[in-house]
């Protein structure tokens, strides 16, 4: 099929970017979206032009590196799918496809469609862990955990840290990301000792990084490639209020 790609080009964080249009012919429906961009990039290098920069790595939907806004949807229009797992058969011959980076104040553009998502790492540094040292831990089966709680913890832990939730949100809020991390530990006995400090510190860091506030529109949940449930946002809010009132 033949496509027209409108892709965001931006030289570096300081200069202004703009959309540039590229026609692309001979696109196979079996290509992944990123393979389609590979083909474009190879042709650009052949012509002596700089290829489009985009983050990617595992290409099997788990590393969370890929991060394109495709026709206004983070990771494209297919639900529960990362960009690397989106295939061209979901597009039609003659389509115009708009490709942009994540847009959020906390994710400055580094080049083209590559953004700096280190704010998510800094939120994790503020409390996204259980403070145990290596060694000296009790036997793994010394702590029975109700299966239902363990499963809920796993539901939250499935977050791949891609930032699609932030990109989808009109406020560029990171609530779903933070709630998933807080929720993973809130549902486990291992996470109880630091439960109050964790939610306060992580949300505090989230605010410092310049993410917006949550207004409960749940576009984040719709965009999440791992379908993290919005219930974790409600749970985090409750934890936060309890922590604020009692600490």
């Amino acid at each position: 099929m033949k496509l027209t790609l409108r892709i965001w080009r931006q030289k570096n964080p300081r200069e202004r970017g703009a959309f540039v249009t590229f026609p692309l012919a001979d696109v196979s429906e079996h290509m992944s979206f990123l393979e389609m961009l590979d083909v474009l990039n190879e042709s650009l290098i052949d012509k002596g032009q700089e290829p489009v920069a985009f983050d990617h790595d595992c290409r099997e939907g788990i590393c969370g590196a890929c991060s394109l806004m495709i026709n206004g949807y983070p990771h494209g229009p297919l639900p529960a799918t990362t960009t690397c797992q989106l295939h061209m058969r979901h597009f039609k011959d003659g389509d115009v496809i708009t490709v942009e980076p994540w847009r959020a104040r906390a994710f400055p553009v580094l080049k083209d469609c590559v953004t700096d998502r280190s704010a998510l790492d800094r939120i994790m540094q503020a409390g996204g862990f259980v403070s145990v040292r290596t060694g000296g831990t009790p036997d793994a089966n010394a702590l029975p955990i109700r299966k239902k709680e363990a499963d809920l913890s796993m539901d939250a832990a499935a977050c791949i840290g891609c930032g699609a939730c932030v990109a989808a949100c009109k406020n560029a809020s990171a609530m779903l990301f933070v709630a998933a991390k807080v929720g993973q530990f809130a549902h486990l006995p291992q996470g109880q000792a630091e439960r109050k400090e964790r939610v306060r510190r992580m949300t505090g860091q989230m605010d410092k990084e310049g993410f917006g506030n949550c207004t409960n529109t749940y576009d984040c949940e719709g965009a999440c490639p791992k379908q993290i449930n919005r219930r974790f946002i409600a749970e985090m809010n409750r934890d936060f209020i309890c922590a604020e009132l009692t600490e």
Binding site: S32, C58, R59, I62, C63, A65, T134, K147
Partner: protein, 637 residues
């Protein structure tokens, strides 16, 4: 080359405890005087960096991704082994040890494997304490499942994403230390060389992938946890950026490289669909329990599978291996698929695929049962191929997915360069010629959490290490070499992209040094690779600048190292005339096609020593002595 593995004396059960007691310690107040560089933040690197920082060392950690959490350990699906014996089915340290040595076709170092089995249980304890949400039973205790190469259920798992959950545990521990200021984390930073001063690894030279800046970092010890080299085949199940650069650079600075030819092939991956294919996706081998493998009997038969009558189908595994059928061992079924495709009877685009047909199983058991067993895999397959495997047979093909070979290390995980330690997939130590499923995660975490924290202290306490800073002449010299190399890449004014060279290299290595290898093919590869390398440096085309974000330059540097490493890989495969584990030499097979080992000739690790540019590398051997296990023919019949 002096290859002293420094294996402690005494009975195998007591070696590690004895060694831990005998190793020297660094006083808690003195630990802050030592700087450690950790390259790579996968399971091995993240767990090492966090554990060393907890002890009090100053750690600098490096990764080329935008976050430490994206290292390729994250993609592991199946699980992690540990000798917990929770199911009460007869598991023990001895059994895990034996299964691993046997699974590795008796080409691993006994003492290392025993230690791995010993610390395996503590890994699970550690991960649970960190809040890793392992699968549980209704009673609240941990669930286990069975995996290939074992008759006990010793695999712990977290849905289909055990790798991500374990890595998030280690990454959490690392982030905690970063927050405490004990680890300085450098993301989007790629190591391009090791700096050796007076025979000791004293630092690295890196490139900042955002700004292009070349800089040096000095330390008292360097830890490489930089993963495997399966991307030498271009198409593998590895992430796109996985590379051999750190290993190859260290090799050129004097770290010996062991058993590079030990690369396993996974039989059930989704085949490539065209020339644009960028990577391969692995699917669980459990599919072979209910799927029947077949290809058309007629060469070049392009009919859709439904139009091919039963009489014109070749159920090649059932025909060739009637007793095992579709459950023939990994390597045998992989090679059988390749033979059928090489014979022109492959299916799908390009003819490199075979059918795995569930029609019989669906007819016998019903679609619901199949959906319950394999629903998520069928969904993943449909997402990628656009075909519904309940209605049309799946197409599968084998693919490379791991590397057992790596930098040679002694019992302390130190390479042949003093002070340069190598962990996880990047070293060669524990899996011999073949790795069992769910053992990679175990090894990465064992090295990082429970081995390097002890052995690095012993290194510091046993040596007088003066401080070396990055203004030392050797740092300046290596930096200049790195800059010169980048300049050569950016000024080669040719016509071909780095990716086109990588694809061509991958094709050579896959065809001549892939699932089945023979002397003629390997010798051809050893002619083709240097020729391609020569063309690379003359005919390479790059865009952009070296002082900027430049993914093409990054890839070119990695391809340049693959082009050098591929030669070592093929040379190793040529020298090892026996078949063992993932290394199959067509000249050395049993009548039934099983690998034929040659214990008299090859019961050793081949350890390659760099001899200089344009010189053949020197072959050293580390003999493998088996005091505890008895060598036997590996058989799963």
């Amino acid at each position: 080359m002096n290859l002293d593995a420094k294996i402690p004396s005494g009975p195998i059960q007591e070696k590690w405890d004895k060694h831990r007691f005998e190793m020297k310690l660094v006083n808690p107040a003195n630990k802050r005087k030592f700087d450690v560089i950790v390259v790579g933040t996968g399971l091995a690197g993240a767990s090492a960096a966090a554990s060393l920082a907890e002890l009090g060392y100053n750690v600098e950690a490096f990764c080329f991704n935008d976050s430490a959490r994206r290292a390729h350990s994250i993609a592991a699906q199946g699980g992690i082994n540990a000798a917990k014996n929770y199911p009460n089915d007869g598991d023990s340290i001895e059994r895990l040890f034996y299964d691993t040595v046997k699974g590795g076709d008796f080409r691993a170092r006994e003492a290392n494997v025993y230690r791995l089995a010993q610390v395996s249980s503590a890994i699970i304890d550690q991960c649970v304490a960190q809040g890793v949400p392992f699968a549980r039973e209704y009673g609240g205790l941990l669930d286990n499942r069975s995996f290939g190469g074992a008759q006990v259920s010793r695999t712990f798992y977290a849905r289909g994403q055990t790798g991500q959950q374990l890595l998030l545990g280690a990454y959490g521990a690392l982030m905690r230390q970063v927050g405490l200021g004990t680890v300085k984390m450098h993301v989007r930073t790629e190591m391009l060389d090791v700096v050796v001063v007076d025979g000791r690894a004293r630092g690295i030279v890196v490139r900042d992938l955002t700004t292009g800046e070349i800089r040096s970092h000095a330390a008292d010890a360097v830890v490489l946890a930089t993963g495997g080299y399966a991307n030498v085949f271009y198409l593998s199940t590895n992430a796109k950026a996985c590379n051999v650069t750190a290993g190859e650079r260290a090799y050129k600075r004097g770290a010996a490289f062991a058993n590079p030819c030990f690369t396993p092939i996974h039989p059930t991956c989704i085949p490539r669909s065209g020339d644009y294919q960028s990577k391969l996706t692995l699917m669980s081998e459990s599919l072979r329990n209910d799927g029947r493998g077949w290809v058309p009997k007629i060469r070049g038969d392009r009919r859709s599978p439904a139009q091919i009558p039963e009489s014109e189908r070749d159920y090649y595994l059932e025909r060739k291996y009637p007793s095992y059928g579709n459950l023939a061992p990994r390597d045998i079924s992989s090679r059988a698929a390749k033979e059928a495709c090489d014979d022109g009877r492959g299916v799908g685009p390009g003819g490199y695929g075979v059918y795995l047909d569930f029609a019989d199983a669906i007819g016998r058991l019903g679609q619901n049962v199949i959906a319950e067993r394999y629903g998520n895999l069928f969904e993943m397959y449909e997402r990628i191929t656009g075909e519904n495997p309940y209605q049309v047979p799946m197409r599968i093909y084998p693919a490379p997915h791991y590397a057992m070979g790596g930098l040679w290390v002694d019992y302390n995980l130190m390479s042949t360069i003093e002070g340069l330690h190598v962990l996880g997939e990047a070293n060669f130590s524990d899996h011999g010629a073949n790795r069992l499923g769910a053992s990679a995660l175990m090894q990465g975490l064992a090295d990082g959490y429970f081995i390097i924290p002890y052995t690095i202290g012993h290194y510091f306490a046993s040596n007088k290490l003066g401080k070396v800073k990055t203004d030392h002449a050797e740092f300046k010299r290596v930096e200049a070499e790195v800059r010169e190399r980048i300049k050569r890449l950016t000024t080669a004014n040719g016509k071909r992209t780095p990716d086109s060279f990588h694809r061509e290299l991958g094709k050579i290595v896959w065809e001549k040094c892939g699932m089945a290898r023979n002397e003629k093919g390997l010798k051809e590869a050893l002619q083709q690779i240097p020729a391609l390398r020569e063309e690379f440096w003359k005919n390479l085309k790059l865009t952009g600048h070296s002082d900027d974000y430049n993914a093409v330059l990054e890839h070119a540097g990695r391809v340049a190292d693959f082009l050098e490493f591929a030669e070592l890989l093929c040379l190793d495969a040529l020298m090892r005339t026996e078949s063992c584990g993932g290394h199959f030499r067509e000249e050395s097979q049993m009548a039934d096609g099983e690998a034929k080992r040659d214990d008299a000739g090859f019961s050793h690790a081949t350890v390659w020593e760099y001899a200089g540019a344009d010189k053949a590398p020197l072959l050293n051997k580390e003999p493998l002595t088996f005091e505890t296990v008895k060598l036997a023919v590996r058989s799963y019949k």
